[in-house]
Symmetry: C2
Subunit: 236 residues, 2 copies
């Protein structure tokens, strides 16, 4: 298990692991962007393609898992290499969940496109764009093994949580003003929740990048801005 | 790295890994049961204890991760042992998420307890009890390394998804009938979603148990009964 030949093969396999993560991350970003467009443009056809596209991300995760287990078994890696592999497994699991959330948004987009009343989809745009930017940056941070860029992603999550809490309140008031908006706004609330959760997972990925690069998780507590669970809007 | 002494130490460490998973699983079950009681009994004090209790589950996951990484690095396990360790990491990650969902339910319970109108909390009871049973059984299946019992848990997930779809429709109608129910029913919809997601994670754990015991994931596709994303209820 030593010698230049084996080391080169191991390096190639680690590079492949890295590559799968980057491909997964870019696919997740594309899927999320398309799902948000499908919501904004009430485009059921685009949404259907996102729902179909999720299988590819799931397949990439399985490929990464199989490669990781093989690397652990055959190469018996130590220190930094072991950390890379264990982190790759965790990052892939987070990306797979983000892909699921893009699929969930797309499913709701199909329903929203068919509603007789247009729900207030524009309210989502800031939150959607912000999380899309977090996904893009965290993938770039992984690709460049850039802990500073990863930390910057993590610091944006508090704003997303705060935006979600505002949206929750806003949608409740729309529903109270007009019962015809109840179905649409309820689906939009779940869309907002999926976007917010995708932001959480981008943050998890950012923390894993810090672990890979620096050998430890970031220590300071994250600011928690999602207070929507405690939101009450009274009907006058 | 060979000899009876080292093998015994390794076995003790694997047993500790197993033990942490079982303790985590039982804590998750207790947390979920208490969160559901807090919803049913509108008991904000009980809910607050659940929210506090989540930190213990997070701590157990970190302990398990540290032990797993140490085992991978120092013991360089092969075949079944490697599978056990990688699966333990995945199961712990699922249990940690289930603990988060219990915490989410508890946060909503605090809000629901304070509402002037009592929302239709009783509608949740079947779904809550079913998922609680799935959690209990999947922990027992892990403890007994019982793939058959794990598969039985997985087969119940379709019923939970179907129940969630019915509830989604039911809560939309309550909201349309009475705007005073909008805030409460919206929170209950998210509670129902958290319960349904906990069921999904119990199913993931069940699949990982099959992988540990049989060396492969169950092949047949799971029945997908959650159609709530596509639910539309029209206001007449």
């Amino acid at each position: 298990m030593t010698g230049g030949h084996t080391v080169a093969a191991f390096d190639a396999e680690l590079a492949r692991l890295h590559q799968i993560i980057v491909i997964m991350g870019r696919r997740v970003e594309e899927q999320f962007a398309a799902a948000l467009q499908a919501i904004a443009e009430r485009d059921a056809g685009k949404a259907a393609r996102v729902i179909e596209g999720d299988a590819e991300i799931d397949r990439l995760e399985l490929e990464l898992e199989a490669l990781s287990v093989r690397l652990l078994a055959l190469r018996q890696p130590m220190a930094k290499d072991l950390r890379d592999i264990v982190s790759a497994l965790k990052i892939a699991s987070n990306l797979e969940r983000m892909g699921d959330f893009a699929g969930s948004v797309a499913k709701r987009a199909v329903t929203l496109a068919g509603l007789p009343v247009e729900p207030p989809v524009a309210s989502l745009s800031w939150m959607g764009e912000t999380v899309l930017g977090m996904i893009r940056d965290v993938v770039a941070a992984y690709d460049g093994q850039d802990a500073e860029r990863a930390m910057a992603v993590r610091n944006r999550d508090g704003q997303v949580d705060a935006a979600y809490t505002s949206l929750f309140r806003e949608f409740l008031t729309y529903m109270m003003e007009s019962p015809a908006q109840i179905t649409g706004c309820t689906h939009l609330l779940f869309v907002a929740k999926s976007i917010e959760r995708a932001g959480d997972h981008a943050t998890n990925v950012a923390e894993n990048i810090c672990y890979i690069v620096q050998g430890r998780l970031p220590s300071e507590e994250r600011a928690k801005g999602d207070l929507s669970s405690f939101t009450v809007v009274e009907k006058e």
